[in-house]
């Protein structure tokens, strides 16, 4: 009797298997994301009380924290996918990293915008060269550079190699964005909003809708990366077919 081979994660490096998996996973994550974001934001906007110090601006947290979290996590996912590409040369991982770029960039933009609009009434300024704000701005510029580099290089494997290196370099700023407030312990931005450490202050009236919104943003990221990766796989196949047509004359 031959033993049944154990299923492996690497099977999904095969584009056909990835397409088959994402066929059912994409609609599921998309609908769950829509539901979680709708519940989290409606709950946060309509049903949470004003903060005694920050007034109604506290409601911005349900957009700001999930988008900032996904801005950093998107880069972390790109880093893992880039390392898989560099080490094991799986094309799907390089294409998944490429698909995550615009999603992470938009999440960073939302985090920067909501931070500025929240900061104005609370700090009296839209912007300050605070460690966390500055590292987030640099992270956003890295995202733009990453997207531009993918578009600028004709050969897909060379593009994947160079963007993977850029991703590794940019990871320094992704880490700084997450821990800047702790490293420097100065600037306007507060420390982590959510923490498992004792003595954290956020009430469950805010924490519950925030967790729902964070789940929604995470699922939205997953859905958009799955959709983007499917598009990149098709675009790669299209390019191969066009090249074959050209060679046949």
């Amino acid at each position: 009797m031959t033993p049944t081979p154990r299923p492996s994660l690497w099977e999904y490096a095969n584009p056909v298997k990835f397409m088959r998996l994402s066929d059912w996973l994409l609609p599921l994550t998309a609908w769950l994301a829509a539901a979680a974001i709708a519940v989290g934001l409606v709950w946060g906007f309509f049903l949470t009380p004003d903060d005694f110090r920050q007034g109604s601006t506290v409601k911005i947290i349900f957009l700001h924290v999930p988008s900032a979290l996904m801005a950093i996590n998107a880069w972390a996912m790109m880093l893992v996918a880039s390392l898989v590409w560099l080490i094991r040369r799986h094309h799907v991982s390089a294409l998944a990293a490429r698909a995550a770029g615009p999603v992470g960039a938009m999440m960073t933009l939302i985090a920067l915008f909501t931070g500025a609009i929240w900061g104005q009434p609370m700090w009296g300024t839209w912007w300050a060269w605070d460690p966390r704000l500055t590292s987030f701005l640099i992270l956003f510029l890295f995202y733009l550079g990453y997207i531009a580099l993918w578009s600028a290089i004709e050969d897909p494997d060379t593009a994947a190699d160079l963007t993977a290196v850029l991703c590794i370099v940019g990871s320094v700023f992704a880490v700084l964005s997450r821990y800047a407030a702790i490293f420097w312990n100065q600037g306007l931005h507060q420390g982590a909003s959510l923490s498992v450490a004792p003595g954290t202050r956020m009430d469950w009236a805010y924490k519950a809708p925030l967790y729902v919104s964070m789940t929604g943003f995470g699922l939205l990221f997953l859905a958009l990366v799955l959709a983007g990766t499917r598009t990149e796989i098709r675009a790669r196949r299209m390019k191969a077919l066009i090249n074959r047509e050209r060679m046949q004359g």
Partner: protein, 52 residues
């Protein structure tokens, strides 16, 4: 139905409106690009199929 946002009504409303618009733009861009590439690939595959 609208909660009383007090003196920060403009900031809070603007944060939600712009963020939701940005999210909708992102979702729309991913969906439209996916549809365009899917159709273009179907055309090329059909052409390649006709040529044998």
């Amino acid at each position: 139905m609208m909660p009383d946002l007090g003196r920060y009504a403009v900031e809070v409303t603007l944060a939600y409106a712009v963020s939701l618009a940005l999210l909708a733009t992102l979702v729309g861009w991913v969906w439209l690009r996916g549809r365009r590439v899917r159709r273009a690939l179907a055309d090329i595959e059909a052409r390649a199929g006709r040529k044998g």
